[in-house]
Amino acid sequence: MTDPVVPPPPGELDGWQRLHPLSPILRGGLVLLAVLGYAASQLFDQVLSSLGLGSVVPDGIAEGGPDDPTAALVAHPLLALLLVLGVIGVVAGANWASWRFSRFRVAPHQVELRQGIVFRQHRQVPFERVQAVELSRPLLARALGLAQVVVQSAGGSDSHLRLAFLSLARAEQLRDELLERAGRSDEASPTVLSPGGGLPHDEVGVATAPPARAGIPVLQVPNGRLFVATILHSSTIVLGALLLAALGGTGLGRYGPVVIIGVPAVLPIAIGVAIGRVKELLTHGNFLIADTGTGVRVQEGLTDLRTNTIPLHRLQAIELVQPLWWRPFGWWRIRVNVAGAHGGGEGSEGRETTLLPVGTLDDARLVLAVVAPRLSREDLHDGALGDRPQPGWQAVSNRTRVLDPLSWRRNAFRIGPDAVVLRSGRVTRRVVAVPHARVQSLTVSQGWLEGRLRVASVHVVPAPGPVDPRLSHLELADAELFLAEVSERARAARRAASRPTPSLAPDPPGLVDWSPQQQGHPHDERS
């Protein structure tokens, strides 16, 4: 995506826009706050000690004697002020210059960003490569009414195009514009015509209806429920059990000392667990999912409120998962694989791929009605809760129940007209659906023991993400049947996807349909 800089041809100079003039302040804002905070704390401390109230920080730090630089600075307030102003000036200058040299524009077929003073960079993302557009609002930006637009493309986080910052209204407008264009040039490979009316994708963006801008809110997750669900995690449960055992241990005089010695060893783990849980809470707080017609808009974040719009046709696989601890409440989580969202690095993990952090099966149905409108209630119910053989579900081998003592009745697959559905797990329940049109490849494997038992495992490979659909220990014949059947359906689905006009006959009712024909009008029948 990063091309060597070439000066723009004369005719293309127009259309280049600057980012919001407040953005350098915002970018430097953190440094500014840190400098001011440090200065203030030093000053405060000095004032306190001069009033004879003693030091609020340990002696060694505050009472540095005459050599202490802070003492010198307090003695010469003007010098201190100059120093602070100097630092602020340098930071502000650098940010201002970087703002001055950053420009972006929306060209007919791509969005472009030029930035850099010494090392110049010109990044272009063609619309057909746009995977999702995210609106992010860190705390400071929210205070100033600004937002950052991140255009995600297939190459992972390095290839993202980041516009920081724009006014909120402009950012939303830009987001909608980009999504509209990106949605129109979907499936635009050289041989495939755009699904709507057989227009070649060069003519995209012409005569398109504006999408529903704000989207229809589908579901909101109460922060209270999210809090409880976040606490109910294996790590916290184990830690809690440890603590209880420790408390019990201290009661018995003999073990008391041992336990007290053990506490510091557990402390780092406890801190790690706490950080993980708080991060989860911060990421998924204020969760709101909305239906925009061609995609879903996910808004989440306790402090850093992000809005991410995922076009429906970028969804590759979908998973409902219920950890054991959530079962008393009947809670589920929905995760998806989104093309291009992988490789987002640590920070974005789980952000772009969670469509429901925690919710009841009914909540999950509401979300699935938007993202997978053709998943039938019964199939969802059977897939989520079924734990014994059912018509339509092909279970794994019962000869290998010693290998899956708990889940051998539950593990099963069902090949629907639109998607293949795998259900598994008695402890952590899991249902995975991969639309036939999204299957990347299929794998059948057989280890040594599996070979002896004449069973095999299948793996449906979608585009990468948190969802990994596999099913172990099928009868060999069933696994081969699965391979043949899913291959056949995938073939048909690919052919359907590359047909210029949708078929006249209505598709059979069934599970999930994410085929491109559906994009234009998937949600009218929802409610």
Partner: protein
């Protein structure tokens, strides 16, 4: 073309094609590069220092022979077939895997060959899809066949390409 519904993990009626036996030669040479210095070292120590090292010599020799047998069997177990819309690759005897990659999902095809493989005139054909784990790799194709395969795969991929 053959009926694609008869893809099986074992045997089968499809025209499964083996890879070149020269791949076994390449892998045996690689194995020998590892085993022979060990044998020599064990032999020298056994003659000069302690007779116990000769026991090590025997162990290494047996392990090397077993590894060579495994290599030969592994190579003979790799087979592949081009169907109308997929390429299917099978490998392994003890641990069998079968990968079926539709042409329409191909992103790109790499041909790799190291100096040893080049000396035997064979190459590895790596098939990449949008998912890093789903690609197949087909080692030990004669170079001209690997290139012909790549050309065929690219052409079919272009003709049957489906969006992500």
């Amino acid at each position: 073309m053959a009926d694609p519904s008869t893809v099986t993990l074992h045997g089968g009626d499809l025209p499964w094609r083996p890879v070149s036996p020269r791949l076994a030669r390449v892998r045996l040479v690689t194995l020998a590069l590892l085993v022979v210095p060990l044998l020599v070292a064990a032999g020298v120590v056994g003659l000069l220092v302690t007779r116990w090292a000769l026991l090590g010599l025997v162990v290494v020799a047996v392990a090397g022979a077993w590894a060579a047998w495994v290599v030969v069997r592994q190579v003979s177990a790799i087979s592949w077939v081009e169907l109308e819309e997929e390429i299917v690759i099978r490998r392994g005897r003890l641990f069998r895997t079968l990968v079926s990659v539709p042409y329409g999902r191909l992103q790109y095809v790499d041909i790799q060959s190291g100096p040893l493989m080049r000396s035997q005139g064979i190459a590895t054909c790596e098939i990449h899809t949008a998912s890093p784990e789903s690609g197949g790799s087909l080692p030990g194709l004669p170079v001209e066949e690997a290139e012909a395969l790549r050309t065929r795969l690219s052409a079919r991929g272009e003709a049957q390409r489906a969006g992500l």
